[in-house]
């Protein structure tokens, strides 16, 4: 079953002198439970594509349907709500809320969703334990290493029980050990809980782990390989 259906997607940036086609007629389906890496050189359109899939940016033409919802039919307020309930985000720079503890960062998403208090506490603990941070729940981001912060970011993305998680260069700021550790956790979550992950990455370690690799060049898919 397709979680994401992209048809004839285009994104054109109008510069002062020239037009840049960041995404040029992309057709793509992502199925539930996929562990997909989107790779390509800088400027190939990886982040632009993920931003549009995540509802953060709008296409110039074409359509993106996420779990039977055409994103182009949603206004800004509905998009925020849609993201909250359907999409998890993991950013390159972790981007945790610095004044909240690991536990609070994770539970905050569920509070925004309006989940019951007892469920929030239970699920927060479970998720943080699943990413190996059961003993650092009360630490603030500045008390955690980069790898630990990124694991909290993954936990936060999982908290809302999303349809899929978008991870934009999640390992770019991590050392080898932390990268391995993070990838193992994400792979395990994917296998055990059937969570769909879509990465944009340059990192070959991520590419090796991915079960589907999509190569973008100049805004076009030049290779789509399933392992």
């Amino acid at each position: 079953m397709n979680v994401i259906e992209i048809k004839n997607l285009e994104k054109i940036y109008n510069g002062t002198a020239i037009q840049v086609k960041a995404i040029n007629g992309v057709d793509l389906n992502i199925e539930e439970g996929e562990f997909t890496a989107i790779v390509g050189p800088s400027g190939s359109g990886k982040t632009t594509l993920l931003n549009m899939v995540g509802g953060l940016d709008s296409p110039t033409s074409g359509s993106i349907v996420v779990d039977k919802t055409d994103l182009s039919t949603l206004n800004q307020k509905q998009l925020v709500d849609f993201r909250l309930h359907n999409i998890g985000f993991v950013f390159q720079a972790y981007n945790l809320i610095p004044v909240l503890t690991a536990k609070e960062n994770v539970s905050f998403i569920m509070e925004m969703q309006g989940a019951p208090k007892d469920q929030i506490a239970k699920r927060t603990r479970e998720i943080l334990e699943s990413v190996g941070l059961g003993n650092r729940m009360n630490s603030r981001p500045n008390q955690l290493s980069g790898g630990q912060q990124q694991r909290v970011a993954v936990a936060r993305a999982l908290a809302s029980k999303p349809k899929f998680i978008i991870a934009d260069e999640p390992t770019a700021n991590l050392d080898s050990k932390s990268t391995e550790n993070l990838l193992d956790i994400m792979e395990e979550l994917n296998r055990k809980e059937n969570i769909t992950f879509i990465f944009s990455t340059h990192d070959q370690r991520v590419v090796k782990k991915a079960r589907r690799v999509i190569v973008l060049e100049d805004g076009k898919i030049v290779k789509d390989e399933k392992k």
Binding site: D57, D81, R83, N95, L100, M112
Partner: protein, 472 residues
Amino acid sequence: MKKIIILAWRNLWRNKRRTLITAASIFFAIFFAILMRSFQLGTYGYMIEQSIESYTGYLQLQNPDYYDDPSIDNSFGYNQQLIEKIRSHQNVKSIAPRIESFALASNGIQSKGVLVSGIDPDAEKEISNPIHRLIRYQFTEAAIDKMKQNGNLPPDLMAKIESCKNNTYSSEAKIELELELDDESTNKYLPIITHYSHFNSQYLTSSDNGVLVSDRLSRYLKVTIGDTIVLMSQGYHGLSAAGIYPVRGIIKMASPDLDNKLIYMSLPEISEFLGLDQQVTSMVINLNNNDEMMQTQTELQTLISNDHQYAVKNWEELIPTLKQQIEGDSIGGQLFIFILYVIVFFGIFGTVLMMIAERKREFGVMIAIGMKRKKLSQIVSLELIFMGILGIISGMIAIAPILLFGHYYPIRLTGEVAKMYEDMGFDALMPMALFDSYFFSQGVIILIMILIVCIVPLRSIKRLKVIDALHG
């Protein structure tokens, strides 16, 4: 909501130094605005107390011609029925009839133009309460010598008493305050001091033929209790008025202007002196609620206009110079406070601009992960409100004891400034006003300023492009 409050409070302390600097600017704005306004309003209140509550009254009933030509020829007849009618108004606290005229007072070779005020001694207790102002104690040279001979007063207290030579006091409490006596010293030494400094002022009876003389006037005329003064004036319709009157007591008026020229007589005695028959120049009215003065004035005017031709005047009409003086000074003070607030406003504004620039990416992330812009706006607004409240409350707490002290122990001005005050007819005291609407309104002004500043981040969050923000 709880998490939003927690987030806002914690965000406030992410950049402690900036928060403290901004809160400090609000603290000082509140502190100085209240300090200045308190001095202003306290001084105005004291001026009003000296001039209005202690003599003029908030309202006066007069012959309509008396306002332009304040002569006893423009007096009016009165009776108990009229008094009762006025008293029936719910905001009228007290009413007293008065006859006022100018006369030449003399004792030996000393003479001076004075204001002779004929009063109903009983009714006047509820207006200017002259009994309260009678001098009961005086540190004359003879009294100080006797205290020295007594030998029971410590040298430092004697030195203080000597520095207050010729000062007069209307109560033991005022001596305590002047000599800064503690409880023990009060119990031990005050009976000795009052014993030797006792001054036997008497109040007037309803048909007394004596007079009360104001303190400074008595010094000028060199009269004391038991002496007599001669008064000469022009009576009703040009009658020649003259009389000799024993001094029953010396009275200390708060207003130096009045203290230099006032003589109280009983109504029957002044009527005889000026040739009046059941006539007065004014009815002085004090109110229960002074804020309703204008409304009461109109209502009283309506109440009495059916039967008689009277004019009801308020103190602002009776002493326009005082009103203008207060208004002029008040505007100057408010202008200063306005400038202070403008400076603080731009301080807060700068902080907000820095905060937005610093946290643009964070705002983008929060919206990206599903936080509604409205909630984000609430967090940022709450941060600013918390910062404002922090400055406001700390400023109010810091100023409160100073304000209390300044109210109960007012600053006595000295030198040229004091002379200027006295020339204007006021005692050179600067009391601070107690907690009133002005105190809290300073906090409200700051909060309004913060709410205005909040527009900037709210607008910024509303217009934030998530993609741009995420890319920093």
